[in-house]
């Protein structure tokens, strides 16, 4: 491997290690020999959980994200306990404290930050060491020192009333100490709260036994050779046996500045997370400054890591970070707090909605600009946080009913809280997983919903309980959930979101599932990702897609729906629910000939032959002589219709004729999830077109209203009106554009109702009807290509010699 490049990472913390993980996930292990400098002597651990280690709810070994074995297994050289002290850019060398040089081709600086220690007399001893009893709170080592010193002591002070200070205070209380929080400002948690909320939080903290001292500027730390107390600028004093300084953080940028890189408050990077001065050097995490912004939370850093990895591996040379909107949900000593964006109005026209109930420790405030959320604080009751954070993040317009933003109105009484719910309560009925099992799994170290679902199978059946599983995981993590990067991937096994994935597939001309794994997933096959990839490739390449049978779910392999006993169901195409005596006779004959145990009318106005043996499938299809109805696929299924204007006295439009055209247009279209369509001859909607994935309903004047995103399955939702169209051809055109847009942009297994809610009907209408992106013509052309590529899979199967594929038996030689 002579031509591998050398990648050196300075800093083995949450950003550095995550970035390396992202790089490896993009096949970076083949491109780079990776070396990491880590000042701390261990693998990367979850810094967020340090307060839990301090308060004893976690053991040290439970918070490792990357144990030392991880570095070995991934061929990453970790220089543990080695501090990088110098950087010579011209020679591309990094020096450690002993003067050893390590060469690099690409360098990532992820040195994080260190606690800021304000000027106070008596912080240090004469020899420059910190006075015994003075601590900071940033690393596992700090935790250990604090814990060792706290034993047997009576009182402690924390300097700094921010989030970390309060967390440290909580940890110290667990050692049985009297704890005081000393804060220089007028209210607690100034980064997240306004004065009113700070005051309420102070009351809640005091009721939990914490002493809170505000507007206290610490001048000196008392005690000759160990801490005895604090003296403030107003000449008052406080006795205490130890003090933890938590007065903010400063970025570790010295190594960058020393080599001439631009540093302001942090290392200045561009949108690729690359230094402004040197294209071989990147920076990520708390030490990086992007568009003037520094981040002290982990969520933005995950986004940065992905962009950096996309860029440095060449996976996406255009990958760009645009900054993060900061929204956090946390628990401070058991009090729940959510904070988003700004905490005070910034412009005269900003709207402020506020509710305060100091007695119950509840405070809510929203700041709205142009009908959109720009900031907010929720304290004590954060039941609306999930909704608000989502609309903040996506910048969606808020409903006019402002009160409903703060409270659940007129809804059924609040469900039981998770604290009250018994451990035995079954959460996932499909896989029989109880609340207790989920909590146990979280405690065993799985700290995001996906990891818990993978381990317990909760939520992996019908998926209806997923939201609750997610909430329980969040609750059990105490708000410190780790984001799972794969939630944004189109399929779990290829680390790319859908638009990036499509771009990569087209750029590299990947036409088969195995080619995608080879190039985009480091050669690692993932079974669960195969059907999703197969569907996407078929959508992109139409007839030029290279089919691989092993990539398809059994249903798609044998073009029939597997049943619980391993037999299959056969549903022939009956467009619009319109059949004929001859067809019915043939179906009856086939059912008798192959002893089909059950013949049933389906919900889709078709006829289902259930219990067909696998080996009979090709003969059944041939004898039927009807095309497949795709009742098994993640694809266009069928279009139901009502009788419409031909027979019905209410009929306004010919719904049957339209349904037949719809079927001819879209039959066989693969899609992220199934698509069920309907047409109705008038708004009486007998064929339920308004709750279909796509539906057309005739209205006065020869027009049709097109509904999209309806659902009447495990979710029930009335579709949104996309537009109204005149005449059948125009209906087909808009339906086709929507379908193609859905095919290209939905995540695998995302039904249209979820897709429409995620993207928003206004946006979809802009693109599909108004053509705001100028892609309408292309969408139409893609539809035409898919239509031209249609082949009846049944006919293909029985006319080619693949009978053995349908046989369960191999000849046994013995």
């Amino acid at each position: 491997m002579k031509d591998k490049k050398k990648l050196v990472v300075i800093g083995n913390g949450m950003a550095g290690a995550r970035t390396v993980e992202e790089i490896l996930a993009r096949g970076g292990g083949d491109q780079f020999d990776i070396t990491m400098f880590g000042d701390e002597p261990t693998g990367n651990y979850n810094r967020i959980l340090l307060s839990n280690v301090l308060n004893g709810s976690y053991r040290e070994d439970e918070i490792y994200l990357n144990p030392l074995s991880w570095y070995r297994e991934n061929d990453v050289t970790l220089l543990a306990g080695v501090r990088a002290t110098g950087l010579l850019r011209r020679a591309r060398l990094v020096f450690d404290e002993h003067g050893e040089a390590v060469p690099y081709d690409k360098l990532i600086i992820a040195t994080g930050s260190r606690p800021f220690i304000p000027q106070m007399e008596g912080t240090y001893l004469a020899d420059g060491a910190m006075k015994p009893g003075v601590f900071v709170f940033r690393s596992l080592e700090d935790c250990r020192k604090i814990a060792a010193y706290a034993r047997g002591k009576k009182s402690a002070a924390v300097i700094g009333g921010g989030l970390l200070g309060l967390e440290a205070a909580r940890g110290l209380q667990n050692f049985g100490l009297e704890v005081s929080v000393v804060h220089i400002g007028g209210h607690l948690m100034p980064a997240q709260l306004d004065p009113a909320a700070g005051e309420i939080l102070k009351k809640s903290m005091e009721s939990l036994g914490l002493q809170v001292l505000l507007k206290k500027n610490t001048k000196s730390i008392l005690g000759a050779d160990h801490v005895l107390g604090l003296r403030f600028a107003d000449e008052t004093a406080l006795d205490c046996d130890m003090v933890v300084i938590s007065a903010g953080i400063r970025a570790n940028w010295e190594i960058a500045a020393g080599s001439g890189l631009t540093v302001e408050r942090g290392i200045v990077v561009d949108d690729h997370m690359r230094s402004a001065d040197d294209y071989n050097i990147y920076s990520v995490g708390e030490c990086a400054q992007h568009r003037g912004q520094m981040y002290g939370l982990v969520a933005p850093l995950w986004e940065q890591a992905k962009v950096l990895a996309d860029h440095i591996t060449g996976r996406n040379p255009n990958a760009a970070y645009h900054g993060s909107k900061v929204a956090t949900k946390l628990k401070v000593m058991g009090v729940e707090v959510a904070s988003l964006g700004v905490s005070e109005p910034q412009q005269p026209e900003d709207e402020v909605i506020q509710f305060s109930d100091p007695k119950r420790g509840t405070y809510k405030k929203l700041i709205i600009r142009n009908g959109r959320l720009v900031g907010g604080i929720l304290l004590g009751d954060i039941s609306k946080a999930a909704y608000l954070m989502q609309s903040f993040d996506r910048n969606t317009p808020l409903p006019d009913e402002r009160l409903g933003l703060l409270f659940d109105l007129g809804d059924p009484p609040q469900q039981v809280t998770f604290d009250e719910m018994s451990a035995a309560t079954q959460i996932c009925n499909c896989n029989g997983v109880s609340k207790g099992a989920i909590v146990a799994c979280v405690q065993s170290g799985k700290r995001n919903a996906k990891a818990v679902m993978d381990a317990t199978r909760a939520g992996m059946g019908c998926g209806s309980c997923k939201a609750m599983v997610r909430e329980i995981v969040e609750w059990a993590c105490g708000g410190m959930v780790e984001e799972d990067p794969s939630v944004h991937y189109y399929v779990p096994g290829v680390p790319l979101a859908k638009p990036d994935l499509i771009r990569a597939i087209q750029q590299h001309n990947l036409r088969s599932v195995s080619a995608v794994f080879d190039l985009l997933a480091g050669g690692k096959e993932d079974a669960a990702s195969k059907p999703g990839l197969a569907s996407l490739l078929k959508t992109l390449w139409h007839a030029e897609y290279e089919d691989e049978k092993d990539a398809r779910f059994i249903n798609e392999r044998v073009h029939a729906n597997i049943q619980k006993d391993g037999t299959f169901s056969v549903v022939p195409q009956i467009p619009g629910g319109v059949t004929s005596p001859a067809q019915l006779r043939r179906i009856a004959d086939v059912a008798q000939r192959y002893h089909v145990p059950l013949v049933k009318l389906t919900g889709g106005q078709r006829i289902d032959l259930l219990g067909v043996r696998k080996e009979d499938l090709p003969k059944v299809w041939e004898d039927l002589g009807m095309p497949s109805g795709y009742a098994y696929g993640k694809s266009y299924r069928t279009c139901k219709s009502c009788v419409g204007s031909d027979f019905c006295r209410f009929g306004l439009g010919d719904s049957i004729a339209l349904a037949l055209k719809v079927e001819a247009e879209f039959q066989g279209f693969d899609s992220p999830h199934k698509m069920k369509l309907a047409t109705a001859g008038c708004p009486r909607n007998c064929s339920e077109a308004m709750v279909k994935d796509v539906g057309a309903v005739a209205v006065e004047g020869g027009r049709w209203e097109i509904y999209v995103g309806g659902a009447a399955g495990s979710a029930v939702r009335k579709g949104d009106i996309l537009c109204s169209a005149s005449g059948h051809d125009e209906v087909l055109k808009y339906m086709g554009r929507f379908i193609q847009y859905y095919r290209e942009n939905a995540k695998y297994l995302e039904r249209t109702h979820a897709f429409v809610e995620r993207i928003g009907i206004d946006r979809i209408r802009d693109v599909v009807v108004e053509d705001s992106e100028g892609i309408a013509e292309r969408l139409d052309a893609e539809v035409a290509k898919s239509k031209a590529a249609y082949k009846d899979p049944w006919k293909e199967a029985y006319t080619s010699a693949v009978a053995k594929e349908y046989s369960p038996l191999l000849p046994v030689l013995s």
Partner: protein, 85 residues
């Protein structure tokens, strides 16, 4: 396939390896020969339980499936070793 009253799934992975495992899923008897394969993971077609083809271990929970030693001879015959029940 069936032999000696046993249901056995024989699968070949994309990498060319051949495995023989119990043919019925321990969950609700799903036909594992109709499952999806990726690497050495086999996914049951009914409710997507996952198993490791090498060890038979389920990728979650305790249960697993039996595995049978198997090799392919130079004529392409698949040779299985089964302890007679």
């Amino acid at each position: 396939m069936q032999a000696f009253g046993l249901d056995i799934a024989i699968v070949r992975t994309r990498a060319g390896a051949v495995y023989a495992v119990e043919g019925k899923c321990p969950h609700r008897g799903g036909p594992l020969a109709d499952g999806l394969i990726g690497g050495t993971t086999l996914i049951c077609p009914l409710h997507a339980w996952k198993f490791d083809l090498e060890t038979g271990q389920a990728l979650f929970g305790e249960c697993g499936i039996k595995t049978y030693p198997v090799r392919v001879d130079d004529k392409g015959h698949v040779l299985l070793t089964i302890d007679k029940p």
